[in-house]
Structures are given as structure tokens and as C-alpha cells.
């Protein structure tokens, strides 16, 4: 797609013009993103690289903090898997129903993205809370009150709600490009619906699913509102730990250390996923 065309308004071959078009954006990126992020990971207020390194070290060895990292990863992985298991079939359905239905279903799936995370998470407090819907349901069934609020399960539920639309969109973009005849061909050749799904539909939609998984995983690792409201004081993950380091214990170098670990975690996963998809496309 690389085009050696000239820009309409101005001769882009002239360096000065190009420069003028790019520089404001780059300057803001530098001042509002690269500089602060780099600086904060090394030179937080009240700290220096040595304190950040020490705090990072303790984050990776402290018996009270390792569980936070483990929980963050566990919550993100489980959320990603559930989103895949639920989101892929929905995307598949949307890609195979007649257009007048698919448009409506897609809009319904996308709609939650227009609401902020507090709005989307708030309902779970009503569902999972002490006197909540679920509790009265289980009590009504004679199972006793259910206590799901402030558990990992609650966080996962909230995150699944938050990120399912992303998974559906990613899978849908792959599935809608797939020729539905491929699945028919497999069925015609004697493959059961399950076999056709496993051997043809799913493998071909894998790139989209992989993108979806990466988005959901990164989102789950970095989400704040949902773990804060649904995990409460009991179940901290990296993002809520970062917040409490800044606003409860006012320990800013320690906050930088958490930020460092969180960033590295997300970067490693994105790199792995792009590696995987590159490998998939060369095969």
C-alpha cells in the first residue's frame, strides 16, 4: 500500500512541509507520552532509578505482593478464555445469520462500548451484593446466601462483561471474511458440525481470535474500575495496587515499580501474540 504520490495541497517531496505536518503530533507525543512515561519508570518524585529497582525487586519477591501478580495474570487469563468461549460463538452466529439480523445483533453487542466502565460494572453490585439478586435467588433455592462480591469470580464476571464486545468484534472481523461455503464444503465431505468447526471454521478465524485474546488480556491486566468495585479490599490486582500506592500509602516510587511490571507484562503478551500471528501467516 506504499504510495509514492505527492500530497495534493502541497508538494510533499519538500521536506519542510512534511516536517511541519508531522512535528506537532510528534511533539505532543514526546511531551505528553514518551517523556512522562520514561521518566516516571525511572525517576518518580521522591525516588530515583535505584529506589524503583529496589521496589520492583520487592514486588517480584515479596510474599505479600507475588500473589497480586499471580492473581492479575490468573484473572486476565481466565477472563480471556471465557471471552473466547462466549465471544467466538456469538461472532460466528452474527456472521452467519441474514444481514437484517446481523446488523441488529452487532449493534446490540457493540452498544455497551458506549457506556463508561462504572455504569457497566455498577449493575454487578446489585446482582452480586449481600442482599443482591443472586443471593436472594440461591437463598430462595435453599442454597443459602451466595457471597460472590469481593471475590476473584466477581472480578472475572465484570471483566468478561466489559471485554466481550471486543472479542466479538475481533472474531467477527475474521469470520465475516470467511467464505461460508468452506464450512458447507466440509459438511458435504462428511464432517460433522463439530468437526467442521474445529478443523475449518475455527482455524481460519484464528487470527481474529488471537487479536481479540490480546485485546482482552491487555484490557483485563490494566482495567481498574471493575477490580476496584468488585474485588474490593480483598482481591487486589496490579492496577488497584498501583492506585493504593499512589493514593492510600502515597508511596510513589513503589507505584512506579508497579507501573513498570504492568507495562512489561502487557508488552510481553502483545509481542508474543504478534509473533504468533506472524508465524501463523507464514505457514
Amino acid at each position: 500500500m506504499r504510495r509514492a504520490a505527492n500530497l495534493t495541497g502541497v508538494e510533499l517531496s519538500r521536506r519542510g512541509t512534511l516536517f511541519a505536518l508531522l512535528v506537532p503530533g510528534l511533539a505532543v507525543l514526546l511531551f505528553g507520552f514518551l517523556y512522562p512515561v520514561a521518566a516516571t519508570l525511572a525517576f518518580p518524585p521522591d525516588g530515583d532509578p535505584a529506589t524503583v529497582a529496589r521496589e520492583t525487586g520487592s514486588l517480584l519477591t515479596d510474599p505479600y505482593l507475588l500473589p497480586v501478580i499471580a492473581r492479575t495474570i490468573r484473572v486476565a487469563v481466565v477472563t480471556t478464555l471465557i471471552c473466547l468461549v462466549l465471544g467466538f460463538p456469538v461472532a460466528y452466529l452474527i456472521s452467519r445469520v441474514p444481514p437484517r439480523w446481523s446488523g441488529k445483533l452487532l449493534a446490540l453487542a457493540i452498544f455497551p462500548l458506549m457506556l463508561n466502565t462504572v455504569v457497566r460494572t455498577y449493575g454487578w453490585l446489585v446482582v452480586l451484593g449481600g442482599n443482591g439478586l443472586l443471593s436472594s435467588l440461591t437463598e430462595g433455592l435453599g442454597l443459602g446466601p451466595s457471597r460472590l462480591l469481593y471475590t476473584e469470580t466477581a472480578i472475572v464476571l465484570g471483566l468478561v462483561q466489559l471485554f466481550l464486545p471486543l472479542m466479538i468484534l475481533s472474531c467477527y472481523s475474521s469470520l465475516s471474511q470467511q467464505d461460508p461455503r468452506l464450512e458447507e464444503a466440509a459438511r458435504g465431505l462428511g464432517a460433522s458440525p463439530g468437526r467442521a468447526f474445529r478443523q475449518v471454521v475455527f482455524p481460519l478465524a484464528l487470527p481474529g481470535a488471537l487479536v481479540g485474546c490480546t485485546l482482552v488480556f491487555a484490557g483485563a491486566v490494566t482495567a481498574f474500575t471493575t477490580p476496584q468495585l468488585l474485588g474490593g479490599a480483598r482481591e487486589r490486582i496490579l492496577s488497584t495496587l498501583l492506585y493504593s500506592r499512589v493514593n492510600v500509602s502515597l508511596d510513589w516510587p513503589a507505584a512506579s515499580a508497579v507501573a513498570l511490571v504492568m507495562t512489561v507484562l502487557v508488552l510481553v503478551v502483545s509481542a508474543l501474540s504478534s509473533r504468533l500471528s506472524a508465524k501463523g501467516s507464514t505457514q
Binding site: 467464505d179 458447507e184 466440509a186 458435504g188 464432517a191 460433522s192 458440525p193
Partner: protein, 339 residues
């Protein structure tokens, strides 16, 4: 001998019940064993829906479908033992050629050695053994279609379904592939059903031709029976009859342009109908000219087309036109009224 595929008053409507559109209505069909049958018709005539109902991808709204004499109306596609070739080839892009061909065999749980042997055999049949290890993306359209054919044939289906398999190919390749299709069908002895809108393709390939119009069966039979004797104006029109004059004493008839003759003065008249006419337009077509004339005798000035070899008359010239009796097809009044 029971027909391989039999349709008993099969109908299929699409859309909600209130504004449903019938794609196929009340179709009865018997597909003879070991023969090449063609479903022919313009787009929207229901031929593809019929094929997809036979394959099991579409459920009939009413009626029964029998495969090998047994009711298979509710049988899912994978249990029907059909081989299907799609217009878009539908090769699995993530599998090699040989894996594509072996897919159906593996789905049937055959032993590894048998899978390898039969897949290789099928690929041999279409002459693509050399490309076994490639991915479909690396193949040309014609090659991909031959792989699709091999894949369908490999499972030794009770019927081979071909859904406009050649229409994505360019004109020359299409002609080559027709021969290839015919050869493969003959060599394997498979029953084949081809869906096409191309009359030449249908005429060349089929043992049995079924012409559909608006979801209904219009005419069926061997090409050499159907082609010279279309039963209705629709069939005649579709088969390339371009002149539909209403002759005094004959009623509505059809005749192909190449059978209309311009008589030079003094030439003896053959058996047939001779008309006085005026040339209105002449188009040069290489081997012949198409001469458009206005037949003076036919009241409202019926225009006729005739394919005329050699020196053509000029527009405005008065000519005599012969419609030979041997080539005049009389169209049934009822068929005419149905239009």
C-alpha cells in the same frame, strides 16, 4: 433401477411466511444413475436452491427428497455422501492440496494408508499429483477447481454436485475444464448434477437436461431432444431461438437466426414459409452477417434476424425470406398463454 436422487413435489420459500418468496415450487425430479444431469436456467430460477436442498444445506419447506430410494429430507449434509464442487472452489486455505483432498476421507475415519492411497488417486485423476504439498493460495483458478473436483470425487460420493463450477474461470479455460469434467465423470462413472446458466455448457456436458423457470420445471430430456424441440417460448428463448413470428396458418413459432434464409432472386423455394421483407439493419460478425428485416406480410411488421453468410444486402433493400419447415418449431398455445 432407482434414481440416485429423487425429488417429490419439493418446494422451498424464503423470507417470513407473509412475504415469502418461493424459490422452488412443487418440483418433481428423478436423476438417472451414472448420468450427467444439468439444471439449467437463468439466475433466480431456483436451480442453486434445488442443488443445495439435495446437498442438505437448505431444508425444503415441503416435499420429500430421496437419496438412493430412501427418504433423506432431514438427513444432515455430512450423512448424505455427496461430493460438492462450489463456484468459489471453497478449498480450505490453511491445508495443503493433499490434505484438502483427504479431508472427506479422514472425516469418514478411514485408515491412514487408505486415505493416502485414495487421495493420491483422486489427485492423479485430475493430473495434479505434483502440487500435493502446496497450499491452495499458490494455485491458479483452474488448478484450484480441479483440486475441488478431486476432493469431491475422492470420497466416492453417490452423487457429485457441481454448483456453477466453471463460471469463475476465463472463457478458454472454461472450455478446457468442460472436457475435463466430462472425462472425470465418465472415468469414475459417477452420477453428476451440474447447475449452470450457460446453455452451451449444458448441451455439451449433459446426458439429461432439466430447464427451470421461476422455481418450476419447464422441460427436461436429452439435449438432442430438447434443443431442436423446445416446448415453450421460455425454453426456446433460453436456448437461443431469437425469432418468434406468428405465422398465418401456423400460429406462434420459433426459429433460430442461422436457419432463416435470404433467397436470391430466382432461387427455388424449399418447403417452408416465404415472406416478403425489407432489410432494416446489417451487422458484420466475421463469418457471417446478421441481417435484420421487417417482414411486410405479418401485419404489425414483425422483425426477424437471420445469420447470412456471404454478401449481405443493404438496408432498405427488399428481400425474400425463407423459414424452412424443417426448422420451424411450433410453440404450444398454452405455453404461450402462460407467459
Amino acid at each position: 433401477m432407482t434414481p440416485v436422487v429423487q425429488l417429490e413435489s419439493v418446494s422451498r420459500a424464503f423470507g417470513r411466511s407473509r412475504d415469502a418468496v418461493a424459490a422452488v415450487s412443487d418440483l418433481d425430479l428423478a436423476v438417472p444413475r451414472g448420468k450427467f444431469t444439468t439444471l439449467l436456467g437463468p439466475s433466480g430460477c431456483g436451480k442453486t436452491t434445488t442443488l443445495r436442498m439435495i446437498a442438505g444445506f437448505v431444508q425444503p419447506t415441503s416435499g420429500r427428497i430421496l437419496l438412493e430410494g430412501a427418504d433423506a429430507t432431514k438427513t444432515p449434509p455430512e450423512k448424505r455422501n455427496i461430493g460438492m464442487v462450489f463456484q468459489s472452489y471453497a478449498l480450505f486455505p490453511h491445508m495443503t492440496i493433499i490434505d484438502n483432498v483427504a479431508f472427506g476421507l479422514r472425516a469418514r475415519g478411514l485408515a491412514k494408508t487408505e486415505v493416502t492411497a485414495r487421495a493420491g488417486e483422486a489427485l492423479e485423476l485430475v493430473g495434479l499429483s505434483a502440487l500435493a504439498g502446496r497450499k491452495p493460495g499458490a494455485l491458479s483458478g483452474g488448478q484450484q477447481q480441479r483440486v475441488a473436483l478431486a476432493r469431491a470425487v475422492a470420497i466416492r460420493p453417490s452423487v457429485l454436485l457441481l454448483d456453477e463450477p466453471l463460471s469463475n474461470l476465463d472463457a478458454r479455460l472454461r472450455v478446457q475444464m468442460r472436457a475435463e469434467l466430462r472425462r472425470v465423470q465418465r472415468e469414475t462413472g459417477l452420477t453428476a448434477i451440474l447447475v449452470t446458466h450457460d446453455q452451451d455448457e449444458a448441451l455439451e456436458l449433459s446426458d439429461h437436461m432439466v430447464i427451470l423457470n421461476k422455481g418450476r420445471l419447464e422441460q427436461e430430456g436429452a439435449p438432442r431432444d430438447v434443443f431442436p424441440r423446445p416446448a415453450s417460448r421460455f425454453v426456446a428463448d433460453f436456448l437461443g431461438y431469437e425469432n418468434f413470428p406468428v405465422l398465418p396458418g401456423h400460429g406462434p413459432v420459433a426459429i433460430r437466426p442461422e436457419h432463416v434464409r435470404l433467397l436470391s432472386s430466382g432461387e427455388p423455394e424449399d418447403a417452408g414459409v416465404t415472406l416478403e421483407a425489407t432489410v432494416t439493419n446489417v451487422t458484420y460478425q466475421g463469418s457471417h452477417c446478421v441481417v435484420e428485416v421487417n417482414a411486410n406480410g405479418l401485419g404489425d411488421g414483425t422483425r426477424l434476424l437471420c445469420a447470412h453468410p456471404g454478401e449481405a444486402p443493404r438496408p432498405g433493400e427488399a428481400v425474400r425470406v425463407l423459414l424452412p419447415a424443417a426448422h420451424l418449431v411450433t410453440l404450444g398455445e398454452d405455453a404461450e398463454a402462460a407467459r
